[in-house]
Symmetry: C2
Subunit: 359 residues, 2 copies
């Protein structure tokens, strides 16, 4: 079945979705709706949409509708489009939480199915100018079907979204929201809390080591965007915050009572769990091997690593400055496609007097 | 004045210090002491020390003594060496906190000065095999002199440590320990707490996005090492933990009371402070300009960036995969030496159809 797709809100996410879906063999046409005529013009220009439409007209024609505006606009848009949805249409969204939107999509006309969506991808940029055909590639993309969504429809949407290169996961709204609370919203709040704990004192910030900078990087995100996300997960977050304060309070007691065993349990458990992430994620993204190498903190060293690997025909699929030294440079992790590549890479580095090993 | 330097404990830090100090014009000889004969042998082999000594004999000859064992061994070593220290000797250490060790170094013979030290550098590896002449390069290296240390002695130690390439900062023990609590120990505890909050549930770990992985990376560190560090800062940590729980509790109240303004204050304050770190650190490490570019998530792309920059004679001094997409690749930040380089880099990328901009 060839579909007419309607994207409501052609910003960063909507535009990127359009660019990818235009390449799907299941898509007849991608239409776009936006309050901002400039965004629509740009979306047409870069080929993110085939044509622009007025909201009601677009919906009348659409087999699949994607809500890609800010979540604050969902409620009024849904009310406006409800009467015009095609019987059999699929309506989806791209918001960061799923319980609220699935409630808004509760009373759809018979035959219409709501399948909430959360592509776990973003970008530094905002708006259609940041649109990127590869934005969702390898990203986890969660779909949360409501009770009325048939398997057939769910599979159809899955197949449609394959053009994005994302890894689709099916998950109900409630467990999804609890999961993103734990792995995204609470880390965000704690990063902000950690930064605020410094009081902005210059000495602290100057000495902020790699650990602090890694831990707090996300505190630089757009506050308005995050306010929307956090408040849309108000039903899950307070309990999770209680849970983390309990863990922190345990750590405080361990220190006050000089109870090394209690603290050892917390740290060892955390290490055991954290060490599993790279292995588990290898099931999700193409597997690769890691090497670690120690380089002098000199300009040009990263380009040099690139050249050495290039000469050996080894692809660098990941690179990370481990920042265990406070300057930039120092110990660098390189991801290469296979274990064999890793061993060849270490040998090639050795020939250039760079110490490295397979991790 | 040419010094005899004694390094007690020739592991990762002691060995790296030896390698660097051997190149100082102020050093006559570097001697090493270690319980483990294999470590001493290796240290001699790689040239981290000129000779090995027994503890008391080494101390009798030494003008500058560095305690580089685990902090747990400090007390007994200090008792043993006290009677043998040369009048006028300087004794220093490399531990992560300063109050405890400065107390242990309280009753030194007249003329001997204690100047605690904290090189804020580390490595993935442990022991003398990880020793690295560049380990301290560009790292902040705090010196905490006691009341008896003259300016002359402090300056002498500063000059001696210049060979390491570290950035020396003078700071008293108490403010130092409070500072590392805020920028290192609390972030560490919170990273562990965040990981433990997941309960190790596989689904959570698989979907753990870049933000979570950045925020919790340090939870993979060695628990035994960190137990020592955390418990040596028992006098500062509980109060700081109370402070952070208060901030977290405020955030919880903001959510419960639907008080967006309160949450906005927390997030905006955090962003404003966090955004200052790169600027402040530019005063510490050689300044550079950042560009951000968007690349398809394809193998070889990092090597390709290296080649493009190399062709233009632009040094990559820093690289970071921003991981805003969940797969690896996506948006990449490159640090280059000057703003002019940054503009040339963007132009060069554009010619290869890679979108980039100066940040």
């Amino acid at each position: 079945m060839l579909s007419n797709v309607l994207i409501i809100g052609v910003g960063l996410i909507g535009g990127s979705l359009g660019l990818a879906l235009k390449e799907s063999p299941l898509v007849k046409k991608v239409s776009g709706v936006d309050n901002d005529p400039e965004s629509l013009k740009k979306a047409l220009e870069i080929g993110a949409i085939d044509d622009s439409a007025l909201l009601e007209d677009g919906v009348k024609e659409a087999d699949v509708v994607f809500l890609c505006t800010s979540p604050g606009a969902y409620a009024s848009i849904i009310e406006r489009i409800k009467p015009h949805l095609k019987p059999n249409a699929i309506i989806s969204d791209v918001g960061s939480t799923k319980l609220e939107v699935m409630e808004l999509l509760g009373n759809l006309p018979a035959g219409v199915s709501a399948i909430g969506g959360h592509p776990m991808a973003g970008s530094e940029t905002q708006g259609i100018n940041g649109a990127d055909r590869y934005l969702f590639e390898n990203a986890v993309y969660v779909l949360s079907p409501d009770a009325s969504a048939t398997n057939e429809k769910l599979n159809y949407l899955k197949n449609l979204l394959e053009a994005t290169g994302a890894r689709i996961k099916i998950m109900e709204a409630k467990p999804h929201d609890e999961l993103v609370a734990t792995i995204s919203h609470i880390p965000h709040l704690l990063a902000a809390a950690l930064v605020n704990l410094t009081g902005g004192e210059s000495n602290s910030l100057m000495m902020a080591a790699g650990g602090f900078r890694d831990t707090t990087r996300i505190a630089s995100s757009n506050p308005e965007l995050w306010l929307d996300i956090l408040f849309s997960n108000r039903s899950c977050l307070p309990e999770k915050l209680d849970n983390i304060m309990e863990i922190i309070n345990n750590m405080k007691k361990a220190l006050e009572n000089n109870d090394r065993e209690l603290m050892r349990q917390e740290l060892s458990s955390a290490k055991a769990i954290r060490d599993r992430i790279p292995h588990i994620r290898k099931g999700l993204i193409p597997g690769f091997s890691d090497i670690v190498c120690i380089v002098p903190d000199r300009p040009g060293i990263i380009g040099k690593l690139g050249l050495i690997m290039d000469k050996e025909n080894i692809n660098i699929v990941d690179i990370e400055i481990l920042r265990v030294r406070e300057g930039d440079g120092g110990t660098i992790r390189l991801g290469v496609p296979t274990l064999e590549d890793a061993h060849r890479a270490v040998a090639a580095l050795q020939q250039e007097a760079i110490k490295g090993w397979v991790r």
